[in-house]
Symmetry: D2
Subunit: 147 residues, 4 copies
Amino acid sequence: MSQPAVFVAERRVEFCETDAAGIAHFAAIICYLEQAEHAFWRHLGLSVVQALDAESHLSWPRVRVECDYRGAAKFEDQLQVAVSLVKLGRKSLTFSFRVSRQSELIAEGQMVTVCCKVQPNRPLASVEIPGSIREKLQPYVQPECGE
Amino acid sequence: MSQPAVFVAERRVEFCETDAAGIAHFAAIICYLEQAEHAFWRHLGLSVVQALDAESHLSWPRVRVECDYRGAAKFEDQLQVAVSLVKLGRKSLTFSFRVSRQSELIAEGQMVTVCCKVQPNRPLASVEIPGSIREKLQPYVQPECGE
Amino acid sequence: MSQPAVFVAERRVEFCETDAAGIAHFAAIICYLEQAEHAFWRHLGLSVVQALDAESHLSWPRVRVECDYRGAAKFEDQLQVAVSLVKLGRKSLTFSFRVSRQSELIAEGQMVTVCCKVQPNRPLASVEIPGSIREKLQPYVQPECGE
Amino acid sequence: MSQPAVFVAERRVEFCETDAAGIAHFAAIICYLEQAEHAFWRHLGLSVVQALDAESHLSWPRVRVECDYRGAAKFEDQLQVAVSLVKLGRKSLTFSFRVSRQSELIAEGQMVTVCCKVQPNRPLASVEIPGSIREKLQPYVQPECGE
């Protein structure tokens, strides 16, 4: 069985992201997860906001995020954010993230996003993930524990 | 059995917190949870950063956050963030949050914080929650489901 | 000659706005200016985003900001942001801000915004400030130095 | 006369930095200036926070920022932030920034920072810029207009 692919985004801690405790604020880490996800889409040759036609586009609103903080990151630390998928559903994705500073773990998180069609003057509607996108995501799906 | 107390913080969505999807960014909601927690500490006559003596203070670093997004909040929406406790541990707290716009639910989240002593030139050390603080928190602890 | 009116917004420094220097980050202060401006619009019974009809609205994009930092604000400091106008132009406004913690000055800034009409599928176009809005702003215009 | 050096930092607009007007929020641009300044320090082999000895370090608090917005940047735009110096004072620096998207100008700003010594339990004190740092900054000083 081949190993699932992992995409790694690099991120330096910026000063405006630190807090008075001297470390990257916990909500900044949540933004790092999103930014790594967006870099992952670009890595696939796509974007988290993908035009369908002149009027409408696909987007991936997040419906859940969770994050466990295992260490602290400081100003100018160079972090690695590893992105993979723990679930590729019919209409939704569950991303898994590991934020580390070399071998030291800083945070682990998951995020659930839903494939939606955005059209002018129409409510956001969830849609099935198009086959062409599903195909590009497949290599990043981790086998479930126990499989 | 008396009802557990709930503290409610009011929060208006600021423009800098919105994103290009026209709604409060999901990480801004995470900040609302923290801000409501801090307002809760002030409501108790305390602060999330509490001096112990001239040299040291108590602080509550967060080790976990999770949030489910149920609706969208827009610029200038007036939100209510209800704060209660689902667990009052020996050294840690598990907060529960409900973010709503009147009767409409926007998000539900939980956050785990650990009681730590901060001293100069010493690593952060978790400590038992002082009795005087425990007493003030007790009324906000929700009974577990099934109890 | 009567004194020009001044609107004062209250703002508490939130933890996520502090930085590793232990103070409110300088860009957070810029957001305070904007938030005070938006509170000022609400105080006038308006909004910085004002519907004109079903399709279009007025908005006030900022074209310039400047800020001098005179002191430092810390977590949970309660600040006052005083808003007045130094220029009420044909199409633009120049706001003046004083951020203080009681009698202590924290920052002084100015911001220039332009009255624009926003319409779907049309570029943003600057327009004359409507008379009804001009009338509400007039009391907040400071006399120029030397007048 | 040789041309002054210019340092250029690359910056992609992240989604959390956009606002409901669909563009990078004006305060996010202020953060871009700071991040470009910090990248500039690293480019010189230094950091905006520079250890002097075990107890103290040099830091550069900002005392003034100004920015003129000339265009709008959107999500995933790749921006260039050009950094140079318009004044190298005895104790302070005046940085000049040009934010552009290839040939299109997005914003122009200036920032004044003061060389300060940070010591535990001592108030922040401005100090003369050390000669070794001054030497590294010199090539980036732009000649004044008219010279």
